[in-house]
Amino acid sequence: NAGVTQTPKFRILKIGQSMTLQCTQDMNHNYMYWYRQDPGMGLKLIYYSVGAGITDKGEVPNGYNVSRSTTEDFPLRLELAAPSQTSVYFCASGNEQFFGPGTRLTVL
């Protein structure tokens, strides 16, 4: 079991660029989550999914989009990157939330 994998590990974007953060889990979990972590702020939920084809907004969804076409994959899309989206992004799966290693994103 690889658990939860995230790619890429690091990325630098220019303002206005777009990108997709990938998240894959091999534990057959229905629940999957995307968080961002900023220093001193804890984790904020961006989007979550309760199963394939079903997604819902979390606390800070603006500027992001998600899709869930399969149980395994839950990509996070940034359409027009802004400096405020500089953060570390974590994907998690399952009711107990098994976390991936994170993606460190910088928007310049």
């Binding site: 629940y31 702020m41 984790l43 979550y48 819902d56 107990e96 939330q97 976390f99 290693p101 994170g102």
Partner: protein
């Protein structure tokens, strides 16, 4: 509104001493409670959870926590810390209401174990 408060942003403690990391929450519905540990440049790892039943919950690495409904607290404790426990600890609350799940994390407590 649902919220989680970790009052202590940093807790220094000597090796082999006991430690308590505090977590208080607020919610209008029933909640599930979690503690996670994060080592530098890594993701979060589940330490323990309270879903129902016994209010004293034991987790990995010798940690335990007690759910106190009247005080809306879920403090994390360890009787004797090791250097390897130096990390950041996060308390989290999950609730389900009207088919919508709400997840709230505290801002974290950095535990520094001093040799």
């Amino acid at each position: 509104a649902q919220s989680v408060t970790q009052l202590d942003s940093q807790v220094p403690v000597f090796e082999e001493a006991p430690v308590e990391l505090r977590c208080n929450y607020s919610s209008s519905v029933s909640v599930y409670l979690f503690w996670y540990v994060q080592y530098p440049n890594q993701g979060l790892q589940l330490l323990l959870k309270y879903l129902s039943g016994s209010t004293l919950v034991k987790g990995i690495n010798g940690f335990e926590a007690e759910f106190n409904k009247s005080q809306t607290s879920f403090h994390l404790r360890k009787p004797s810390v090791h250097i390897s426990d130096t990390a950041e600890y996060f308390c989290a609350v999950i609730s389900n209401s009207g088919g919508y799940q709400k997840v709230t994390f505290g801002t974290g407590t950095k535990l520094q174990v001093i040799p």
